[in-house]
Symmetry: C3
Subunit: 274 residues, 3 copies
Amino acid sequence: MFEKIIKNVKEQNPLVHCITNSVTMNDCANALLAVHGSPIMADEQQEVEDITSICQALVINIGTLNERTVEAMIKAGKKANELGHPVVLDPVGAGASQFRTETTFRLLKEVKLSVIRGNISEMKTVYSGTGTTKGVDADINDIVSDDNLMQTISFAKELSQKTEAIIVITGPIDIITDSKNTYIIKNGCPEMSQITGTGCMLSAILGAYIAVNQDNLLDAVSCAVAIMGYSGELAKQKIVKENSGTGSLRVYLIDALSMMNSQLLNGGIQIEKR
Amino acid sequence: MFEKIIKNVKEQNPLVHCITNSVTMNDCANALLAVHGSPIMADEQQEVEDITSICQALVINIGTLNERTVEAMIKAGKKANELGHPVVLDPVGAGASQFRTETTFRLLKEVKLSVIRGNISEMKTVYSGTGTTKGVDADINDIVSDDNLMQTISFAKELSQKTEAIIVITGPIDIITDSKNTYIIKNGCPEMSQITGTGCMLSAILGAYIAVNQDNLLDAVSCAVAIMGYSGELAKQKIVKENSGTGSLRVYLIDALSMMNSQLLNGGIQIEKR
Amino acid sequence: MFEKIIKNVKEQNPLVHCITNSVTMNDCANALLAVHGSPIMADEQQEVEDITSICQALVINIGTLNERTVEAMIKAGKKANELGHPVVLDPVGAGASQFRTETTFRLLKEVKLSVIRGNISEMKTVYSGTGTTKGVDADINDIVSDDNLMQTISFAKELSQKTEAIIVITGPIDIITDSKNTYIIKNGCPEMSQITGTGCMLSAILGAYIAVNQDNLLDAVSCAVAIMGYSGELAKQKIVKENSGTGSLRVYLIDALSMMNSQLLNGGIQIEKR
């Protein structure tokens, strides 16, 4: 599965404008290059409209946000909307500070988003910004497991409906939904959270995948999620074999991303459609 | 030795707020994750108080400082003080520009620091900001060696007394003192200075170690210093064996940090209490 | 060839002030350290004059520029000129936004540059800022090949004359000229463009090479270009042998830079003087 989706990225090398955090900016650029996308990082208000205009997708990641870059995010988001470019939001740390939460709400309100990707805790904050009065179901725990999977899927679907965006909740089990159809992906490994940036890299890659697969967004998003998860597993296999640590894991993750193809992916993907 | 100190970090995974430079931010995050701490990088005035409130320690590194981030450092430092969180200062490049020197002095004055870590040259600048009129002893050379060790220890003790902080002077020989007790550590290797960020990573890790070992700060700090030094040695052994270079050294340093445990450390630690 | 040039860098460890982009800042620092230079990154207006004063060269890279850092670039550039320090400009993305193009023009006008390095597309934008009314020859394609080599050399020479800087156009074939003499270098491999920062790292290294070889600038620049290209080839050989990907390529590139010497370089350099 996903042959065509991967092929489109490899052949069209989409240019992705990233307004992303300074911790993982280099990782995001290398991850995008590894999957045959092409990154441009630019966060100055004066140039974001020009930059986003020459790109095919925009990725907004709010980690290490500041007053200057928040305005750039809004400006770039509006321009991308105007041009019909898909926009990915990664609400890093939404809920951890009022500034991040309010910035998330502002982005939800002022920019039409195609995909929102975060962990369950960030996504609950996103939910609280959709104007709902219901409050998040207490059954939605902060770790998605088989026990609370059904509730979390319902939550994701509702959030997708409210935001009109594809929702990606990542964790031990990844949930991807456009409110009608849902994919469950069980790739990845706990070691991925011992290096910084795996979530940010996924969000960056999502930009490339949706840029050139606009007729099939849910599959494109799910494919990118599976690629990141399975690349993490391959990287882990290598460090276990070599008895090395998390420095090597980070290197091998990018290695795996750069060597991924649909045949390899189909040998390891753990996906289920609901 | 240090079993309990290492165990506390591995079991409690302390959340560390880092306001750090943009050159080594990613290295600091990965180093913290490698030792089982958990990093949050945030340097916007509007959110630093919120962020530091949910953390257990604050690390302030003045490399690539700017007007905006200096105010964030002060604000976060005061909030951490208010909450009783330990604060680490890494005065990167103090003395290299008036702005860095003045920022160092301002932090010394406005924030209560638990640990200050730097090379001897940076620490002499710190000393000049303590209001002393004596001037730094001319015998304090810019490289700590066996010849000037006694003078440098005296200097460190005096600086510790003046600042009421644990002083860590790193170099070929590392000195850690709380003015009463002093550890001398001879781990590490010259190759560590051929990659950027080893000092910054150590300062970041110090945040995690003191966060969960507040009843035993001097040992916690010394343990972290020894871990960084010995990890560097292990990384060097690997590149010598493989005949590889400094790119690999950086990867293997993080590997070693992530695989360190008290048994391994005790096999290589070169420490002396005075 | 180039023995003396490499020796000067290795023995004098020039301190290089970099105002560079946040994506590849860490790579630039590690690349500089790998060739035995010494990096200082600082982009705050308040300190750039102090910092550049203690360095031997200044490298200005406009990727991820913002209003604050542009002023710092100008200020540092003028100070470096005043002190007679060589200045390298890397006009990353010139032409991609009006802000980058105007900043490039402003730097050309207000700062005396020793070296300008970019890809052909960036260099055409630089050319348009030299006040020429002729327009860039349509024969100058965006990829330098054997077919359009002669035209591109003429273009580079003219640009060198207009800017009074050494011009470095990098691509499958690298052209280095001071308007009178020209080197053509065919080292490097396409895989280098699958990792971020190879151009930025080269520009950073150029700073170290020209800092200590001011009596022989064209050779110093050409030597650095050859070292980066051949290091890329060595890194590629290693990933092909190991069947690894672009994460490893990035590590091995820094490895190769750190292990390079004139004997090794002379075994692989593909250079031609015209």
